[in-house]
Symmetry: C2
Subunit: 399 residues, 2 copies
Amino acid sequence: MQRYLVFILLLLGTGFSSACSAWQTAEPAPLLVEKQSFTFENYTTVSGQTIPEVTVGWESYGELNEAKDNVILITHFFSGNSHAAGKYSADDPLPGYWDSIIGPGKAIDTNKYFVISSDTLVNAFPHDPNVITTGPASINPVTGKPYGLDFPVVTIRDFVNVQERLLASLGIQQLHAVVGASMGSLQALEWAVAYPDKVERMVSVIGAGAMDAWTIMALEHWARPIRNDPNWNNGDYYDDDAPLTGVTSTLAMITQQAMHPIIMNMRAPKPEVMPAAMLESVTNSSPVLDYLFANSAVRAPLADANHLLYLVRANQLFVAGHEESLANGMAKVQAKTLFLPASNDLLLQPYLAQQAVAALQEQGQEPQYEEIEGVWGHLDGLFSIGSKAETLKTFIESE
Amino acid sequence: MQRYLVFILLLLGTGFSSACSAWQTAEPAPLLVEKQSFTFENYTTVSGQTIPEVTVGWESYGELNEAKDNVILITHFFSGNSHAAGKYSADDPLPGYWDSIIGPGKAIDTNKYFVISSDTLVNAFPHDPNVITTGPASINPVTGKPYGLDFPVVTIRDFVNVQERLLASLGIQQLHAVVGASMGSLQALEWAVAYPDKVERMVSVIGAGAMDAWTIMALEHWARPIRNDPNWNNGDYYDDDAPLTGVTSTLAMITQQAMHPIIMNMRAPKPEVMPAAMLESVTNSSPVLDYLFANSAVRAPLADANHLLYLVRANQLFVAGHEESLANGMAKVQAKTLFLPASNDLLLQPYLAQQAVAALQEQGQEPQYEEIEGVWGHLDGLFSIGSKAETLKTFIESE
């Protein structure tokens, strides 16, 4: 995922890399982290099927105290992984995605808390050497071959259940907080519903309480380029060429939709006026299109087409608690809650977080709600999170 | 395109059909219209190529006066055609798309004005029996076969130039106004730039002055499902199966993105909680997905895959005037101008109309600007246009 961040860096241009230099200056000795791995056997999914062996990667920042009650879990977004903070080595070009709020003295203070982050099941980029996940691209021990579509459909609750096993293996029974952005926010909220007595604080960044029809359809558009790629072959492509054309289209769509026009137009090349190539053929590209698609094409081989389909489905199936209604799920929440949607988010618009807030209020709860302002759109949940550092710190350190 | 409107009706559900009944009650004798056809030879495109024969359909409402100076041109949107008002027969289920503002005594009053609307080049639905267009699916007189990708790339300026020929054939040299929504707004603005001395008033509904990088990318996502469909065969599929899987994905994407979540969630089935089919396989569908994709699949055979690619490209290439900059183009406008973007539009957001307004203001012009409020998103430009009837009428009838 180092590489993933480098691609994001390439995509975003030089402004971001100077921001990165600033971080480096401010922090001459970066938090060094190490990817670890957790394996357990015979996991039964929400859909009632058994996965013989589950392995997921994880990393941590800060020290677990003796009482094991200073734990903050970070849950990752759709295209992300467990590298939330720090660097693997001092010369890594970029730190983890939320390094601006996780570290010594930061909003999520690693001098006080043991911060742990895990790769989800069916992570989008299983071929990234820094990702450890179990999904359709994993070897099915029964057949000795990749599962493909034999892998059971999994849900956000399954991601949470696997994290619960990981924490239990470390003797952790209680979460001071769980914090996640986007798909990570779904996991954070699901934690508060599924294990209400274990979760003291829950932070949902650019999140939702349940997927609505519009978003379920938007997610489906991410699946179709893969399913319509002849190389996909109904999920059975592991001995052959992967459906990289479809994966590239999917990644390009995700990138564009996660960014607000303001930032995209600032970063992308200026559209040319009457460019000869575009006028010559409808299939000719342009610098604007290359900017989006070339980066997606470079990232595509690190992704797995089936994993992307499983992630889409897990998100489409989400309603907090996976109960009859959002209200029924929310009735279980005992944690203090904080919701931080992004005002300019075009993907998971603030109304989705507001629905979750309203459902909690109807239960007599007092959820906290603030909007992140920024030009990034959905990605304000990652790149503008620093603007909510004080809010976060106060919430995390509250009684 | 009757059928197209019926599909929209199916998609929107019963609320819209009762609105339709209300119109029928209010207007027992509907404006009856007839599709007509205009052909001319040897059109040279902006890209410098010659199309031996161009034929486009058109229809009109109201009477052309003797001076031929009471003409209002209506230019159509991406998925639309020239059926802007009235019905082909009294028992048509629905009238043209802007019937709420075009007709006797309406905002665009057919008792005063001769309103004319034409199908564009490369119309998206050439296999709709009510559409008459010339594009890649047309027979190339040189080869006796469909053009396919031999058809030249065309621009919004080409659409306008063809309309100018049509009007000239009717002896019309002056437009009282040109009015269009979405892609129609691009044509309306291009008219005011390309033929400044012919256009007295210009109305841009849910429009833009120029495509920006973000929108060019968004449009590209509409092209990729077609280009990635193996049946597309580099545009040469007319003797074989059409790439309907790709076309269906494209139409589904357009439909979802043109609608705001508010209206989509009101109309679509409520997402099921943990539906057995979706949990069984990532390829299984759901009522929410069927709602979107089944309708798109029904419409797909009326569309042409290459035409959709050419339309995408025409829109991607748009900057008013097709000059070095938007300012250069806008400097030519002499018409009074009115811009009506939709507040909730997620496809062509109001900032795009605001850029055109700012460019005109910098030229010392006084463009008028109001936002359409509604729950439809981009489609507020069609379905909520009635809320701007007074503004429109005042503008159209102003000196």
